[in-house]
C-alpha cells in the first residue's frame, strides 16, 4: 500500500466502518512526520472529532493536537462564506442570508447544499497553513451524491458563478496529483459488496481519484488445519449428552471466531482483486477512540510516499 503524498485525502465507506478513526489515524501519522494537517468533517449533525480530541466542533479550524487542526463544514456557515466570497457588500450579505425565501430555496434546492460545502473544502485546499487536508466524508451513498453535484452543475448551466465554482471543484478534486479517495471497509460480505459497488460508481464519475481501501478490524486468528480438526471434534463432543455446558459454549465461541476469520480472509481477497496493491488490512485495536486512532497511525506510518 502506498498512500502517496496528496494534498487532499477523502475518506468514505459504509456507515460504521471506522471512517473517522481512519481520518484521525492518517492525521496523527502525518503530524508525526512533521506535516501540518487539517481534518474536516462534512456537515456532520453530530461531529465525531470531539470524541477523539475533546472540546467542541467548530466551523473555523481549531487546534486539536500539535500540528493537527479540525473543523466541521456545516452548511449554513459554509453558505455564509460562499455568499461573502461572491457578494462584496457586508450589509447585503446579511440581508440575503436572513431572507426566508433564500433560506427555503437553499435548504430545499437539491445540490445547493453539496456545492456550497464542497466549495469550502476547495478553498481550504489552497490554504498554505496546511500541508494536507483529510476529509471525513459521509457514508458511501451520500459521498457519491456529494461529488455528483458539481458534475451535474457543470453540465446543467452554461455560465454563472456556481457553474464556475463547480468546474473548479471538479478539476481540483479530480486531479490525481492533488486528491485521493480512500475507502474504509469492514470484513463481511455486505460491507465488502458495498465498497466494491461504490468504487465502480466513483470510477465511472471520475471524481475523486480512487487511492485504495483500508480494511478495518481485520482479525488475526488464523486456524491451522489441525486447529480446524480439533475444533470440529470438540464441537461434536460438546454436543453429546453429558458434556459440560461450558464446553459447548466455549466451542461455539471459537466457532464464531473461526467463521469471522474465514469471512475476513475471503473479503480481503475480494478487495485485493479490485484494488490490487492498494489494499491494507488494519488490525483490531482495543481501547478508546483515540487509542485506536493512535494505533492506526502507527500502521499508516510506512505507507506515505515521499
Amino acid at each position: 500500500m502506498n498512500l502517496g503524498n496528496k494534498r487532499v485525502y477523502f475518506v468514505t465507506g459504509k456507515g460504521g466502518t471506522g471512517k473517522t478513526a481512519v481520518c484521525v489515524g492518517l492525521a496523527r501519522s502525518l503530524a508525526r512526520r512533521g506535516k501540518r494537517v487539517l481534518v474536516l468533517e462534512v456537515d456532520a449533525p453530530r461531529p465525531n472529532l470531539p470524541s477523539y480530541f475533546g472540546g467542541k466542533s467548530t466551523y473555523d479550524p481549531r487546534v486539536l493536537a500539535p500540528r493537527i487542526e479540525g473543523a466541521n463544514i456545516d452548511f449554513f456557515s459554509a453558505l455564509d462564506s460562499y455568499v461573502r466570497s461572491v457578494v462584496p457588500m457586508k450589509r447585503v450579505v446579511g440581508m440575503v442570508l436572513r431572507n426566508r425565501v433564500v433560506q427555503i430555496f437553499l435548504t430545499a434546492t437539491p445540490g445547493a447544499r453539496e456545492l456550497v460545502v464542497l466549495s469550502r473544502i476547495w478553498e481550504h485546499s489552497f490554504d498554505p497553513r496546511w500541508d494536507h487536508i483529510i476529509v471525513d466524508l459521509p457514508a458511501s451513498g451520500h459521498a457519491v451524491a456529494l461529488f455528483r453535484c458539481p458534475l451535474l452543475a457543470n453540465r446543467a448551466f452554461d455560465r454563472g458563478p456556481l457553474r464556475r465554482r463547480a468546474h473548479e471543484i471538479v478539476s481540483r478534486f479530480g486531479d490525481p496529483e492533488v486528491a485521493s479517495l480512500l475507502f474504509a471497509a469492514l470484513p463481511g460480505e455486505m460491507p465488502i459488496n458495498e465498497t466494491l459497488e461504490t468504487r465502480e460508481v466513483i470510477e465511472s464519475m471520475g471524481l475523486p481519484p480512487v487511492g485504495g481501501v483500508l480494511l478495518n478490524c481485520y482479525p488475526n486468528e488464523a486456524f491451522t488445519e489441525l486447529d480446524e480438526r480439533l475444533l470440529d471434534q470438540l464441537i461434536e463432543s460438546a454436543a453429546a449428552e453429558g458434556a459440560p455446558d461450558v464446553a459447548q459454549q466455549a466451542s461455539e465461541s471459537a466457532y464464531i471466531v473461526r467463521r469471522e476469520q474465514h469471512l475476513a480472509t475471503e473479503g480481503l481477497s475480494r478487495l485485493r482483486e479490485a484494488f490490487g496493491e492498494q489494499t491494507l488490512a488494519l488490525p483490531i485495536l482495543p481501547g478508546s477512540h483515540d487509542q485506536v486512532a493512535e494505533g492506526l497511525s502507527l500502521v499508516f506510518g510506512g505507507t506515505f510516499g515521499p
Binding site: G16, A139, F157
Partner: protein, 402 residues
C-alpha cells in the same frame, strides 16, 4: 401480554407485525437495519399479512438478503419456494422493492398532473431533470412519496420501510414537511412575480427588497440557474396542490400511533447506543412512536460463572476437552489449542458482559415504556433467507400456533 411464554420484546414485535400498517426501521449505518427490516417482513408474511419491504438505502443489500438477483422500483414478490424450501407455509405474501427515486418522481408527476400537457412540460424541463437526478441520490422526498403510494394502494396490509443511515433518516422524517415548505404557494409566487421575469436594473425595482434578493441570488447562483428555477416553478405551480396534500398525509401518517411504529435498530457498541438514544429523543420530540429498540449482535455467554479455580473455563472442563481431543494430536498441541480456546472464551464472556451492561443502560435511559429486543451475535454473516429466519426466531420467539 398477548402471547405467553415469550419475552416482552418478542410479544411486542408480534403485536406490531399483526396490528400496524407501517413499520419504519431507523438507526446508524452498519447495525443490520436492512436485515432487520427483511426479517420483520418475513415474519409478517408467515403470519398472514400482505407485506412489502422497501429499502431506500443506495446499497442493494435487501436483494442479497432475500435471494433476489436485484431489486428495482417495481414491487417484486419473494418466490413462495423460498418459504417452502425452509418448511414454511406463509399465510400472507412478501414483496420487496428498492426505491428508484428518478422513476418514482416521474410517476408522481404523471399522477398529480391535471393533464398531459402539464405533465410533458414538467418532465421536459431541464431543471426538473437535473433536480430529480440529484434527488435520486438523496432519497428522502421520494421515500415519503412512495410510502403514500404503497400505503394507499390497498395492495398491502403492512409496509416495512428501511431508511438510509442516521443523519439522512432524520432528513427523511422531515422530508415531507420540507417539501411542503418548498412548495409553499407564497414562495412559488415570489419566484413567479414580474421581478423575476426580466432582469431590468431600474431604480424602482432595485428598491423592492424582493428584487434585490433576486438579483443577489442571481449573483450567487448565476442568473441562468435562477431563470431555470423560475421556469421550473412555473411548470410546477399546477402540481403544488397535489404535492402538498400527499406530503401532509405522509407527515400525519408518520405521527399516527395507530398505524405506524418506528423500530430503532442498533448494536451494543457504545457509539451505536448513543445514536439509538439520540434517535429516540428525535422521534419523541416529533411525537412519533419511537419506543421500540432492536439490539443486534449481542454477545452471548455473559451469564457464565467462574469455576472453583476462578476461571470461566474451569480446570475440569479443560481436562475434559483435552481428553476428548487426545486422539487427534500430541498432548502439547492439544494443550495449546485448549489454552487458545480459553482465551477466546474469556474474551467472549467479557464482551457479552459489556453488552449486557450497555443494554441495561439503554433500558434505564428509555424508562419503563421502552421495549428492547435482543438478537445475539450469530456465527454467520446474514445474507440468505435461512439466516433471516434465524433472526426471526430471536425477534419473535416461538409460540404455540395450535
Amino acid at each position: 401480554m398477548r402471547y405467553p411464554g415469550i419475552t416482552r420484546g418478542q410479544n411486542e414485535l408480534r403485536c406490531v407485525v399483526e396490528d400496524q400498517s407501517l413499520v419504519v426501521c431507523v438507526g446508524s449505518g452498519g447495525v443490520g437495519k436492512t436485515t432487520t427490516a427483511a426479517a420483520i417482513g418475513i415474519q409478517a408474511a408467515i403470519d398472514g399479512r400482505r407485506v412489502i419491504v422497501v429499502t431506500i438505502d443506495p446499497a442493494r443489500r435487501l436483494a442479497n438478503s432475500l435471494g433476489l438477483e436485484a431489486l428495482g422500483n417495481d414491487e417484486r414478490q419473494i418466490p413462495l419456494e423460498k418459504f417452502t424450501q425452509a418448511g414454511l407455509e406463509p399465510k400472507g405474501t412478501l414483496h420487496a422493492m428498492m426505491l428508484d427515486t428518478q422513476a418514482t418522481f416521474d410517476e408522481l408527476i404523471q399522477r398529480v398532473s391535471p393533464d398531459d400537457a402539464t405533465r410533458d412540460r414538467v418532465l421536459g424541463n431541464r431543471v426538473y431533470r437535473h433536480i430529480s437526478d440529484t434527488l435520486s441520490a438523496s432519497h428522502d422526498y421520494m421515500a415519503s412519496e412512495k410510502l403514500y403510494d404503497l400505503h394507499h394502494s390497498g395492495r398491502y396490509d403492512l409496509v416495512v420501510l428501511d431508511t438510509p443511515p442516521m443523519k439522512n433518516a432524520i432528513d427523511f422524517l422531515e422530508a415531507s414537511g420540507r417539501l411542503s415548505r418548498f412548495l409553499d404557494d407564497k414562495i412559488v409566487s415570489w419566484f413567479l412575480k414580474p421581478h423575476t421575469g426580466g432582469r431590468r436594473r431600474g431604480l424602482g425595482l432595485l428598491q423592492a427588497p424582493g428584487a434585490i434578493v433576486y438579483r443577489l441570488l442571481g449573483n450567487i447562483f448565476g442568473n441562468e440557474f435562477l431563470d431555470e428555477i423560475a421556469d421550473f416553478f412555473l411548470a410546477f405551480s399546477d402540481l403544488i396542490g397535489g404535492f402538498r396534500e400527499r406530503a401532509d398525509v405522509v407527515s400525519r401518517l408518520l405521527r399516527d400511533h395507530k398505524t405506524t411504529r418506528f423500530v430503532i435498530v442498533c448494536t451494543p457498541k457504545s457509539t451505536s447506543m448513543e445514536e439509538a438514544r439520540y434517535f429516540h429523543s428525535q422521534l419523541m420530540e416529533r411525537r412519533m412512536p419511537g419506543d421500540l429498540f432492536i439490539v443486534n449482535r449481542v454477545g452471548r455467554f455473559g451469564a457464565t460463572t467462574r469455576g472453583d479455580d476462578g476461571r470461566f473455563l474451569a480446570q475440569e472442563t479443560r481436562a475434559w476437552m483435552r481428553e476428548e481431543l487426545s486422539q487427534l494430536a500430541s498432548p502439547k498441541k492439544v494443550r495449546s489449542f485448549v489454552d487458545r480456546l480459553e482465551s477466546h472464551f474469556d474474551r467472549s464472556v467479557a464482551m457479552a458482559q459489556d453488552d449486557a451492561r450497555s443494554i441495561e443502560g439503554l433500558k434505564s435511559f428509555g424508562g419503563s415504556d421502552c421495549i428492547v429486543c435482543e438478537v445475539p451475535r450469530l456465527p454467520d454473516d446474514i445474507y440468505d433467507f435461512k439466516g433471516l429466519l434465524t433472526i426471526d426466531e430471536h425477534l419473535f420467539g416461538s409460540v404455540d400456533s395450535t
